[in-house]
């Protein structure tokens, strides 16, 4: 549709963008629509929403915005990416502080701030902006010793983590921390520092268990199936069992009628019940494919900024997906994390688009030495 010689922005974009990564993203979005159509009407009915299709309509309205955002960001070049990320991160800091002051408290945590038409979960956006900013400062520090890249990166990470722990949102903190660790690990951090960081993280988690009552309660419930209310997880496990390999059929599931977050945190269980384990494995594989695709580009990439940013972003995305899946599979204590493009939620959808937009921008073919693109 576009000539090779077309040198317009769109033309260049079309010939340089990684079409497999783009295709995988659109496939995930399409599956997301299907799953939300299956899971959310039951939830909407239960909370007595004005329409059972409320969540479906909302998701469909947000999707073009998200796609636009993703494609827009994928047009960015290196400098532009860094600029958007750093400015975005500053905006996120503002939003996080606003959330702490004026946020709505839902289920014991302040995570959302109302923007009139839309409740914004600022922490969702902290992930991509932080990952790219950290990569940028680490790369700047390498080029120019006078820029204290490492220090700046550490500061940004510390501030983000602090603001998110205040909410509190432990799951998000874990994902951001592991994403940051991946980046500094790839940046050549020495092993003795790595061991120290891991110890610190373990201390942090133990501290969270001892100091934060909602964390200790969840962990206790995970460890002892007989202690207290394990209702959600029992239902979720039953969903997978009911579904078997081929599922009970779209819309035929019953778990969505009893699980409070069937359209968000437990959407994977609904997929398991209605579409079966094989479709679940396909979704898992699709996310794995996205990570692998980014990894391949990173491996042949020569620009350290792109490697660090790409790896950080994709690790975050993978971890977030894994936490969502593993929670509903009772592999880890339940953690409210969304499944990118599949879970219902405007902030999650837009943030996932930002991640994919950045990744598409980074994996575009650029004139450089070596690499598979020019082989």
């Amino acid at each position: 549709m576009l000539e090779r010689t077309d040198t317009s922005i769109l033309g260049r974009w079309w010939w340089t963008v990684d079409k497999r990564l783009l295709g995988a993203t659109f496939l995930l979005m399409a599956l997301g629509i299907l799953f939300i159509v299956a899971a959310s009407p039951a939830v909407a009915d239960r909370i007595e929403a004005s329409s059972s299709q409320m969540f479906v309509l909302h998701h469909l309205m947000m999707l073009p915005v998200a796609i636009g955002l993703m494609l827009g960001l994928s047009l960015l070049e290196k400098k532009g990416l860094a600029r958007v990320a750093v400015l975005g991160l500053l905006g996120v800091f503002g939003a996080l502080i606003l959330t702490l002051i004026a946020g709505e408290e839902i289920k014991g945590a302040r995570r959302w701030v109302s923007l009139g038409f839309f409740s914004l979960q600022a922490s969702e956006f902290a992930k991509p902006f932080l990952a790219v900013s950290v990569a940028w400062f680490l790369a700047r520090g390498r080029e120019n010793p006078r820029v204290r890249g490492k220090t700046l990166a550490m500061l940004l990470f510390g501030l983000t983590l602090f603001l998110i722990i205040l909410q509190p949102d432990l799951g998000m903190s874990v994902v951001i921390t592991l994403g940051f660790f991946t980046q500094v690990f790839l940046a050549g951090l020495r092993w003795r520092w790595i061991v120290l960081l891991v110890l610190l993280a373990v201390c942090g988690l133990v501290g969270a268990y001892l100091l934060l009552p909602h964390v200790s309660s969840r962990v206790d419930r995970f460890l002892e199936t007989d202690a207290g209310d394990t209702y959600q997880i029992t239902q979720s496990l039953r969903a997978y069992r009911n579904g078997g390999f081929f599922g009970v059929g779209p819309g035929e599931g019953t778990i969505k009628m009893v699980l409070p977050d069937a359209h968000a945190d437990f959407v994977f269980a609904v997929v398991g019940e209605e579409f079966g384990a094989i479709v679940c494995l396909f979704v898992l594989g699709l996310i794995g494919y996205i990570v692998l695709r980014v990894w391949r580009c990173c491996y042949y990439e020569n620009d350290l900024f792109f490697i660090w940013a790409g790896a950080g972003l994709s690790v975050q995305m993978a971890l977030q997906s894994f936490v969502n899946m593993a929670s509903s599979l009772s592999l880890i204590p339940t953690k409210g994390m969304t499944l990118p493009f599949v879970s219902y939620g405007g902030s999650s959808l837009l943030a996932s688009s930002v991640v994919m937009g950045f990744l598409l921008a980074m994996t575009r073919k650029r004139p450089s030495l070596g690499g598979p693109h020019h082989a």
């Binding site: 239960r46 209702y231 029992t234 496990l237 078997g244 794995g288 490697i307 593993a326 599979l329 592999l331």
Partner: protein, 558 residues
Amino acid sequence: MAKTKTIHSSSPLAIVRRRLMIVLGGVVLIMLVIAGRLVHLSLGDMGSDPFIPEPVPKRADIVDREGRLLATDLMTYSVYANPSRLKNPKETAKALCRVFTAQECATIKTSLTSKKHFVWIARHLTPKQFYAINYLGLPGVESFYEPRRIYPKARLAAHLIGYTDTDRSGLSGIERAYDPNLVNRSSPFVLSLDSRIQDLSMRALKEAIDKHKAVAGMVVVASVKTGDVLALGSYPDFDLNAVQQASEDQRLNRPVTGVYEMGSTMKSFSIATALDLGAITMIDTFPVGEPIKIGRFTIRDFKPKQGQMTATEVMIHSSNIGTAHIISHVSGPDQRRFLQNFGLLDTAMVPFDEIGKPMLPQNWSEVYRTTVAFGHGLSVSAMQLVQAFGALVNNGVMVPLHFEKTVGPVMGTPVIKPETSAMMRTILRAVVASGTGGKSDVPGYEVGGKTGTAEKITGRGYSRNKRMASFIGAYPMSDPQIVVYAMVDEPVPTKDTYGYATGGWVAAPVVAKIVEQASPLLGIMPKPVIESPDALVSDTTSPPIADDDAVSLSPDDQ
């Protein structure tokens, strides 16, 4: 760290690439764990959750010989709770009360506030009811699929099909006898039964019962050649979907469980025995004029006749005296051996627990063996009678009756010689063509059979007014295919039966109706009826003798 001189001599890019592989390894590992868990769960492992009821095994459908559904599983939902795990049992009960009636609500409140680990809230809910409960979104209130056994044809062949308890184990009929075969079987269980013939047979029986204000009745239709039971009915009957409301009398499977003194129908076997042994011939005659005295008993005929009769005439007139003379030509051991071979002394070989055992006479003295010869002193089930009667007409080969549809060849046991069977067919046809069984005849179908009217035992002796009127017949006599048995218990005489309530007047018309209606469905064509003067002479000059026999066995000193 980027600028530090690391101990690695390699470039930062080389480090990045090596470490990228390490992180990728970690990601793949997590993916494998998640994938493994997914597969594990979908294989049905629930981990540790001791409070979930066992999944109920599926039970196969029961269908008739042409695949019509008789019993099936309906998917319903059952709801339960673990009260010890409920955060607020009272609130939960209150919420549930919005869905249930006040009465159910009180029970739910009591059970939810108990200290138990498992209580049922409701079982076998329809999807609509289940949705209403789910809609309440109550944590701790759990549910699972629990199939319910339903019987789409309700009363049809209720006694044969049988029913299950709430935990779905078979309690009676096929449901019990074939319980292990039905559990987790994937294909439907095919009965020998034909729903249409069952239905029309029961209608015919019911009509006779209503007409004669009788208390009960039964009917059996079976294939002579294969032993397939095509219809097995007992009246009064019941609705399989409402077993609790049915009385014991309604649930009694008369043809299988009940054993009765069959009366004159048993004469057929006595005559067949004497003919088969060569003790008598078809042209021998026997005196019927004088009652026979054996010890202190006198054997009389219901309608006394004069002179001498052949075996055929003894059967036509159902003469007790004639039968007693005939059996006197057979030795006691021979008589018993033949009864044994006809299966009349052993419990019928059907796998039902509720099968009735025959009641044998106290001893085989002359009195008893004589009364047994015309149907008193030996009680058998209708299953035994029908099976033995099949052998009489089926060239002497007895085929066991069964409820599973026959596939493949059938094994039978020879009981009497084919020539004897041919003679019996002639005799039985004569009984219908010009004897007590006349009302069972259907033009062109060559019905042959024997009536039976047994006086019921009440207290110390036989009752004069309480009778069981029965008829057993097979057709067409040139090549018998179907055997039909009908019995009406305690019929009351009516005006149009001229005051009779005997097998010939009450049960034979039932059999005629069944023959007439079932034959087109079974593909049995009527033979053209030739209205030649000869035929008219042989068939109608002597109108059917529609009186009947009954035991006249009374101690002399009374």
